[in-house]
Symmetry: C2
Subunit: 131 residues, 2 copies
């Protein structure tokens, strides 16, 4: 068992978020704990960042959810091939575009999380082919 | 605080793993708990998958590590812009290529984790531009 604490929370005024970041132009803010501000020093407007977060409103995972029908597909699929928020460890991943960084707050576009979502990590977005 | 349990573990015979999956051709296996086998049903050879795991051998994070010098860079960078295993929540992300799926075991190429690394999630690799 591993314990992770939020490093911050998502803020967005949008109450109906799209099902996936790849089709989202919703804006919002990643408000980090002030203790982590210095760790944001190399994040710049225009960057794509990977945000790992907790699906904190999802129901508990159960065995019958190992396959699920995604809303935009016409068949059941294995949970590890889909982005369902109901999964063995309820961790979400979104690739967001940075609009602005001010102190401990990153303004972003591409939000597909609810307001109040706990953030557990931010990473650079790196494509499979090395530079 | 959120608790996550491993869904499986990385197996690799390689003892010196590259610093990043994007420059790795190391092979290995993702051995999932048998309870999750059904969730792998849509993972196919040739697929790229995102594997989230725990940097279980990393030292505890400390404030002075908010900026770190990556081994292949000549300057200090913010922890949220680099892939260092020493981070506030020690979660790693690798994009691996699937060679084979047999029951609860995925054979992969691109390993940059140590043998025995706890896996906490597997997700489809989706590029920023929607299909």
């Amino acid at each position: 068992m591993y314990d992770f604490s939020p490093i911050g929370f998502v803020e967005t005024a949008e109450t109906k978020v799209p099902r996936h970041w790849s089709i989202s132009d919703v804006k919002g803010r990643l408000v980090l704990d002030k203790a982590y501000e210095k760790g944001l020093c190399d994040i710049k407007p225009g960057d794509r960042i990977i945000v790992l977060f907790v699906f904190h409103k999802s129901q508990a995972f159960e065995e019958n959810l190992l396959v699920q029908k995604p809303p935009h597909k016409n068949r059941q699929m294995g949970v590890f091939s889909i982005c369902s928020p109901i999964r063995p460890n309820p961790i979400g991943l979104s690739v967001l575009t940075v609009d602005k960084v001010e102190k401990n707050i990153i303004s972003v576009t591409g939000i597909d999380m609810f307001d109040g979502t706990p953030i557990i990590d931010i990473k650079p977005f790196i494509t499979p082919e090395p530079d």
